[in-house]
């Protein structure tokens, strides 16, 4: 028995030593007595020894030479073969103890009483005290009781109290967990706990919001009491949240859910120094973009306009800057991004493919904090301002480019005439009115200005505001009232040499009110229901002559208005431990409102100027056309084991708003069109099934998911369609059927020094444009691949933390080349050569692959300094792969030339300096 304890004792040494200070000592001894060695060491270092002189063996002599040696090396040499044990406390105190005495003196109730006072080290041999308990960041071992030969119990109960070390207040709702044994307990309101532990070694972890995560090793041999004192730790907030949700993928009923947290992406390599949560999203299965430098996301074979992008509950129409190269979301204020690409909750609607729910962090309610970054293209500053301590706070973030003035300052005329700048700002106010009422309000603005040639200037902006009031009627009944308003607009100013200068503008606004209730009936039923209504105000475009000489006729395409309303209810029905259903129903109702004039075309003929037979006028607020219907949102989960489940879901969606774009990829000057008499809403049905398995206590996640999606009335365009300022858009568009299917694999390592994920998707996205009229048929009316059909998509994201200061990261992306319409021959017309094109999307551009690497270097960890900082060095496209973004053909001097364009064809290194204060 004695031997066993001795071994345990020694085992714990290594752990205890782990927190040694870094002080190095150079010293040498020749046949010195132990007491002399101690005194000499004290003389050359800051270490102070605490011991009882009689313990030391006065006969023993010691020799040794040390150069820059850590203290524990000297100590282990000195005491290695003696009965003396040592303990190095954080403040360089070294406490010696005589092994046998401690063992003999370790009473059963040693931890039985709360020890608030530091034991008098001078007189008593002390191994542990409360001071040590709270300061240790490594794993400390605590022994409870003494093994008795008579003991037959397999489990013992440990009870005690957990207190906040600073305020001395009890910590309620603290989770005590033994992950490998699946034992979990929570402290009560007074911080008391009682946990049953199997005999022997238990690795216990403590978790709670705002409390430092702590691990202890408890060796239990009898029932006992132990009190813990824990420190607050606000900086680790993010990590705690993640741990709470770590088996979400297996447990929830919904399919196709992805959550990204900004903390996860801190170390991912950057392009031009910008941290970008949306770019990270595209490394996950099922989410892709048409290419670098294209705005918009294609989710599970859907068009870019089929995503409901919400920033603090308000729709953001264009969440990118600079042609999609940068995201318009401030990385420092963004909290989480939840992506629903499979089951879309009944509370969301109006877009076919996905919901991107982006939420802004709440400001720090305790102290003023700031964070910033200086990069090659933009600089960034975020401030956390507490307004009323613990009650309300403000977070403000701003970001701007400083490229513009540099371009202006240059000698080169072409560059002088160029312009490219953007900025965005966000503010969020958070107020905890009382226990039952919580208010959040956000405002956001982003603007881009750029010019491609000297005579035209483009700009676009997003403006968002939202208010959310959460009110709890009681424990079971909770509500949220949301008001959100969004504006997106763009302008083109043309100032050329002739008298056709103009100012062209586009604007869309939407205002939504949503009331959502959550009702927990009992353990089995969780209801979520509500009503929402959204008013669209679309100004499809106006053109004004610029200057008095301009002969451009002012034209204003009449405003479009529509009301999109919905009733929704869903029940999270927990049938048994194993079976969980999420049954949702949404009823969408859409009304296109006057004042409007609608074109009526001859039936059975293609819509064109020639077949227009009549127009019909509608008065203000008169309903011109209605669409709508029920949307089923159902999903089910069957859990084989707590960490292995199967899910299936079915979804139906309506979409009443469409982008108009005759570019292959989305661009910031695409306009939107509301469904009206001649343009029908898009609809989609999606079926998905998946298997989800977590290994090693959620350390590894494995998800496999398949889907099949059919859609109707997807908008496409006639070749070279004119979409801007067109009063009869319906004559230029085609509506066809879509079909998409795929299988997605995701394996994720969530923690550890090496973490990251690997995602692979095989998918297809097809379109069919058929009609009885020749001019409306594309590819003979057969299914053809959409512009964003990329069957193979592989992403690997890996982070490796070398030390506390250095971490490395890399991502690798491989995608099948995007389909293109390829020229298959030439012809001559009027002396010029032209290209004769293949069927639409018959060929593909070369495959896309890219490797990025990055290094994060944290500043030093001195406590007293102005700001905490870190450097990020990234290289984008390390392999210098000249990834073709597109292949296009130009007739130059009567000859055909083929060009391939790529956005980043060489490695792009960037360095960013980030700071926090």
């Amino acid at each position: 028995m004695r031997k066993l304890l001795l071994i345990l004792f020694f085992l714990s040494f290594h752990v205890l030593n782990a927190q040694d200070s870094n002080e190095k000592i150079s010293i040498s001894f020749t046949n010195s007595k132990t007491i002399d060695v101690i005194q000499k060491t004290e003389a050359v270092s800051t270490y102070r020894f605490y011991f009882v002189a009689s313990w030391l063996d006065t006969d023993k002599v010691f020799s040794g030479t040390y150069v820059d040696a850590p203290i524990n090396r000297i100590l282990s040499d000195l005491f290695g073969d003696t009965v003396i044990n040592y303990y190095i406390a954080a403040d360089n105190r070294i406490v010696l103890s005589q092994n046998s005495i401690i063992y003999d003196a370790l009473p059963i109730d040693f931890f039985g009483e709360e020890k608030k006072d530091i034991v008098d080290e001078e007189t008593k041999p002390v191994l542990y005290n409360s001071d040590v308990t709270r300061k240790t960041s490594g794993v400390e071992t605590i022994r409870i009781g003494k093994e008795s030969k008579n003991s037959k119990e397999k489990k013992y109960t440990l009870t005690g109290k957990v207190k906040n070390v600073v305020t001395n207040e009890p910590i309620p709702n603290l989770v005590l967990t033994i992950p490998d044994k699946n034992i979990n307990e929570v402290t009560d309101i007074d911080g008391n706990y009682s946990i049953d532990l199997p005999v022997g070694v238990n690795n216990i972890e403590f978790k709670s919001l705002g409390i430092e995560n702590l691990k202890k090793r408890i060796i239990i041999y009898s029932d006992g009491t132990y009190n813990f004192e824990l420190a607050e730790n606000l900086e680790l907030l993010d990590e705690v949240i993640i741990d709470a949700d770590k088996d979400k993928n297996v447990k929830e009923a919904a399919t196709g859910i992805t959550q990204i947290q900004i903390k996860d992406i801190k170390t991912i390599p950057l392009v031009l120094g910008e941290r970008d949560i949306l770019k990270v999203a595209t490394t996950l299965p099922g989410i892709s973009t048409a290419g670098e430098g294209s705005t918009g996301f294609n989710v599970r074979g859907g068009k870019t306009d089929q995503n409901l992008m919400l920033l603090d509950n308000a729709v953001i129409y264009n969440p990118t800057h600079f042609f999609g190269i940068f995201s318009a979301l401030n990385p420092y204020t963004t909290g989480d991004l939840d992506i629903y690409k499979g089951s879309i909750p009944a509370q969301y609607g109006g877009r076919l493919s996905s919901v991107f729910n982006i939420s802004t962090k709440s400001g720090n309610k305790k102290s003023f904090k700031g964070e910033g970054a200086i990069g090659p293209v933009t600089s960034n500053l975020t401030l956390d301002i507490p307004i009323v301590k613990d009650k309300s706070s403000l977070i403000m973030g701003g970001r701007a480019t400083y490229s513009d003035w540099i371009l202006k300052a240059l000698d080169d005329e072409n560059l002088q005439n160029s312009q490219a700048s953007f900025y965005d700002a966000i503010i969020k106010y958070d107020h905890q009115i009382n226990e039952n009422n919580h208010l959040e309000t956000s405002g956001y603005y982003s603007k881009d200005v750029f010019s491609v040639s000297s005579d035209s200037l483009y700009d676009y902006s997003n403006m968002l505001m939202s208010i959310k009031w959460d009110h709890d009627f009681n424990e079971k009944h909770k509500s949220s009232l949301i008001f959100a308003h969004t504006r997106y607009d763009f302008n083109i100013k043309y100032d050329g040499v002739s008298n056709t200068d103009f100012d062209l503008g586009y604007k869309i606004q939407e205002t939504e009110i949503k009331f959502r209730m959550k009702y927990t009936l009992n353990e089995k039923h969780d209801f979520d229901y509500g009503i929402s209504s959204k008013l669209y105000n679309n100004e499809p475009g106006n053109i004004q002559p610029k200057g008095s000489e301009s002969i451009v006729e002012p034209l204003n395409i009449p405003k479009e208005r529509a009301l999109e309303s919905a009733l929704f209810i869903s029940d999270n029905f927990n049938i048994s431990e194993k079976l969980l259903l999420d049954l949702g129903l949404r009823y969408s109702f859409y009304a296109f409102l006057g004042e409007t004039t609608q074109n009526i075309y001859a039936e059975g003929l293609p819509k064109s100027d020639g077949t227009l037979i009549n127009t019909k006028d509608y008065g203000k607020n008169e309903v011109a056309k209605t669409y709508g219907g029920p949307e089923i949102r159902a999903s089910a989960r069957y859990a084989f084991t707590p960490s292995f489940s199967f899910k299936a879901s079915y979804n139906h969606n309506y979409q009443f708003i469409h982008t108009l774009s005759n570019n292959t990829t989305a661009s910031p000057t695409d306009t939107w069109k509301l469904s009206d008499l001649n343009i029908k809403p898009q609809q989609a049905d999606q079926f998905s099934v998946g298997f989800y398995k977590n290994f090693d206590g959620n350390l590894y996640e494995l998800n496999v998911e398949g889907y099949y999606k059919i859609s109707n009335n997807i908008l496409d365009y006639k070749v070279g369609a004119e979409l801007l300022l067109n009063q009869s858009i319906e004559t230029e568009v085609l509506q066809g059927d879509g079909k998409a299917y795929g299988i997605e694999f995701l394996i994720k390592k969530t923690k550890g020094r090496l973490n990251g994920w690997l995602g692979y998707t095989y998918s297809r996205s097809l379109l069919k444009l058929d009609s009885e009229f020749n001019e409306e048929i594309v590819n003979n009316g057969d299914y053809f691949p959409s512009n964003y059909d990329k069957p193979h998509d592989l992403s690997i994201v890996a982070n490796y933390k070398l030390t506390k200061r250095y971490s490395f990261s890399a991502n690798f992306i491989y995608q099948t080349g995007r389909p293109v319409t390829y020229p298959i021959g030439n012809y001559v017309l009027n002396g010029s050569e032209y290209v004769f094109y293949s069927n639409r999307n018959e060929f593909r551009i070369p495959d896309y692959y890219r490797l990025d690497i990055g290094v994060n270097i944290e500043g030093n960890h001195k406590i007293k300094k102005l700001a905490h900082s870190f450097w990020n060095i990234s290289i984008y496209n390390v392999l210098g792969r000249n990834n073709p973004y597109s292949v296009f053909f130009v007739t130059e001097n009567g000859e055909i030339k083929a060009y391939q364009s790529s956005i980043f064809s060489v490695p792009i290194p960037t360095i960013t300096y980030n700071f926090k204060f």
Partner: protein, 406 residues
């Protein structure tokens, strides 16, 4: 300060990079190939032998259009007139008689190809006849701030029916060889002993004229304007550095009034053949014309049958009208002097360099070499020569003055 500058350059590099992306020319290869009929048929209201061209699409690696020979081409109207076309060159068909498109008549093109297929056009009417009000030139800058000459047109249709215009031009310019001299170097003996003489030129080589035709699609619509008026529409811009405006320049601008269908067809064609910028491209694809196959409705046909009214105007201007006292644009080629070795060494049977260059038509005699003889360089020749284009304008144009030249 230096640091800041370096930084600025770095930033700008990045921005330029982003804005222009990286565009490089690539080699084309035909993956699959369809031999599709291409029809070029614009009938106008000018009384003349109307022309129609037929060809087939060709592979990128092949040189040029394959003419479609031995076809039967005919135009019929709704007054039971028919106009037969005969093939004068492979793929080139000319009406057997002179005719002009008449208002109110409806024309249809019918083609029977050698392989037994029949193609029809939709019936088409002559568009509104609208004269060009004015064609004029001004010195200005283009959107990249390059100095140069712009040619503008004005047109006005009080009826408001024209709306859709397409322009073509034919430019003729005078060329003056800058190193023209009276004498030519004439070889008398091509074998040893080599002999030559200097004697006056026998043909006009100082002043020539050259004509070229517009190739791009130039269109203008007035649909969005308050009245059907084309004002100061630029059909041509010639940078000051272009030698064609060095002396006297003439441009004939032709204005075609198009139907909306023809206008849309050409506009789409043009849109697909221009690159906008890296970030936005049009959806390319096949687009239907007004000609289709009677035999197989799925067969693709390229080109458009158009019946257009046409009106043209010619203007002239001189370089010094706009650039008085300013240096001329650089010449078409760089005129560098050379002094090839004239003599030969005993026993040599090949032509001396001077003879050879003259014989190959690469250079023209200019004048005696003032450095001759050059002790440092014994092979320096006795005469200075210039590239042939600098001494003989017929290499760049014709020495026959066009009839319209004034």
């Amino acid at each position: 300060m230096k640091k800041i500058k370096t930084y600025a350059i770095f930033l700008v590099t990045i921005l330029v990079f982003i804005m222009n992306g990286c565009v490089e020319e690539i080699d084309l290869e035909t993956l699959t190939f369809e031999r599709v009929l291409v029809v070029e048929a614009v009938i106008t209201n000018e009384l003349k032998y109307q022309e129609i061209s037929l060809s087939r699409t060709f592979k990128f690696e092949d040189g040029g259009a394959a003419p479609e020979a031995n076809a039967n081409v005919i135009i019929v109207d709704n007054f039971q007139n028919s106009y037969n076309f005969t093939e004068i060159l492979p793929g080139k068909y000319v009406s057997s008689e002179e005719f002009q498109a008449q208002p109110n008549a409806e024309y249809q093109l019918i083609i029977n190809t050698n392989d037994g297929k029949t193609y029809n056009s939709k019936t088409t009417q002559l568009t509104q006849v609208t004269p060009l009000t004015d064609v004029y030139a001004e010195r200005t800058t283009d959107s990249f701030n390059n100095d140069g000459m712009a040619v503008y047109v004005d047109s006005y249709d009080p009826t408001g029916n024209s709306k859709y215009y397409r322009y073509e031009y034919e430019e003729t310019y005078k060329i003056v060889a800058p190193y023209w001299v009276l004498n030519d170097f004439v070889i008398l003996s091509y074998s040893p002993p080599f002999r030559y003489t200097l004697k006056p030129k026998t043909s006009e080589q100082l002043t020539c004229y050259n004509t070229s035709f517009s190739k791009e699609i130039i269109q203008k619509e007035t649909n969005d304007l308050a009245e059907d008026r084309v004002t100061k529409f630029r059909v041509r811009f010639i940078p000051q550095t272009n030698p064609i405006i060095s002396h006297r320049y003439s441009i004939l601008v032709k204005q075609y009034v198009q139907s909306i269908d023809a206008f849309t067809y050409y506009k789409t064609l043009n849109k697909l053949s221009l690159s906008d910028n890296v970030f936005s491209q049009n959806q390319p694809g096949f687009f239907a014309s007004n000609i289709s196959s009677v035999t197989d409705s799925n067969e693709k046909v390229l080109g458009f049958f158009e019946v257009s009214s046409v009106n043209s105007k010619r203007i002239f201007f001189n370089y010094y009208d706009f650039y008085e006292g300013e240096p001329l644009p650089p010449y078409f080629v760089e005129c560098t002097f050379g002094a090839p070795f004239l003599g030969s060494f005993p026993g040599d049977t090949f032509l001396p360099p001077m003879y050879q260059l003259i014989d190959e038509g690469k250079v023209k005699y200019y004048r005696p070499n003032p450095n001759y003889p050059n002790p440092q360089n014994e092979v320096e020749g006795k005469y200075l020569v210039v590239p042939i284009e600098c001494g003989d304008c017929t290499k760049l144009g014709t020495n026959i003055k066009p009839d319209f030249w004034e």
